[in-house]
Symmetry: C3
Subunit: 157 residues, 3 copies
């Protein structure tokens, strides 16, 4: 491979990485809303974490699947829900990436829809043999708390 071709291939690789990181996050909402706990869990690494600030931290795929199988999420699904993730600001650095963005949960409630949760999210992603996976997601309700705003800081670059 020539030097020019190798340089172009590196640019394509970066676009593919950014696209793959965004795709993992774009898959979260559809998978959560259909209650596919195993597929949601596989978005994380084996030891990945999902922290909801002020609530709890799930560690590992079984714990993350349990959130989707649990009564709170099942009640939300029975009512009707949508986990809408906004655009994410993605920064890739070799085999790691950071993504920052919002999540909004809509819930069907007595023939109308209400905004159930609006949160800040910070995703730490890693490249694995299976593709990009979530090493850590931190979510905090944007209810005025400083901890939620801090999650939205963009990494340099």
């Amino acid at each position: 491979m020539t030097k020019d071709l190798a340089a172009l291939a590196a640019r394509v690789q970066r676009l593919e990485d950014e696209r793959a990181v965004a795709a993992v996050i774009a898959a979260y909402g559809p998978l959560a809303d259909q209650g596919d706990a195993a597929a949601v869990a596989r978005l994380w690494t084996e030891v990945g974490t999902y922290e909801v600030v002020g609530f709890a931290t799930a560690r590992g795929r079984d714990a993350i699947a349990a959130l989707i199988e649990g009564p709170t999420h099942r009640a939300l699904m029975a009512d009707g829900c949508a986990h809408l993730l906004g655009p994410v600001a993605v920064t890739v650095e070799g085999d790691a990436a950071t993504a920052v963005g919002h999540s909004v949960v809509f819930r069907h409630d007595a023939a109308r829809f209400v905004v159930e949760r609006v949160s800040a999210n910070r995703w730490q992603m890693v490249r694995t043999a299976e593709g990009w996976r979530v090493a850590a997601r931190v979510n905090a309700l944007l209810d005025g708390q400083a901890a939620a705003r801090a999650l939205l800081a963009l990494p340099p670059g």
Copy 2:
């Protein structure tokens, strides 16, 4: 073209395809909200369909344009509306693609905004001489019905 260059070109083509599929869906909201019925219809193939589960199926561009020209959509526009489509999970397979994601309709109502509809969407897209077009869109209200959740299943790959 060398083998290395051809391999890189195929990767670029995939990124372009995924981008083009997402762009068709990203155009839907702005076009619908400004009431450009002809341009909305042109996002579909000549024989494309738009099914709203439990309501109706529009077949072909004239029928899709009629949805935008119809009294329900015109009343929504007169009040003020936004069709916000979240991120889509796009899977391209040669000349066909599947995209899965949410749509949320906001409506202005007496000096405030309300969440009018929250839906699951499944888009079947095809590559045509005009570019990527919608062969079939199925939309179902996320009001707890299983049919809506089923639309959110992600294709393998």
Copy 3:
């Protein structure tokens, strides 16, 4: 560089440009919601403008930073807010680009979330030595006014 390689490099450049334009817009919400006025202002060119139709036009980075530092935005942040920008339809033409899309502001209000604003947005972007920057953003409330709908017109191509 061969002709084939140069042609492929031009396609990669276009994907990078579209990605970079979308990334500037994706950064706006997280930066605004954490109140980072200087970083929000740097998304614009030195002489960039931000017009809210029927309200005011901020000209230049100091004026844009002042919007984020001002009492209206600070009150919103104290309550808890999320500026969610939907997908954008991006058209790049050399060193200029147009992006069209929605913005939705959610506000935390007495233990629930409300939809504070839903707007149409039209972004004129330019390539600068610092990267893609906003030359002009126009925002109008989707409350039924024709001026808002007009912002959503997609450029040809």
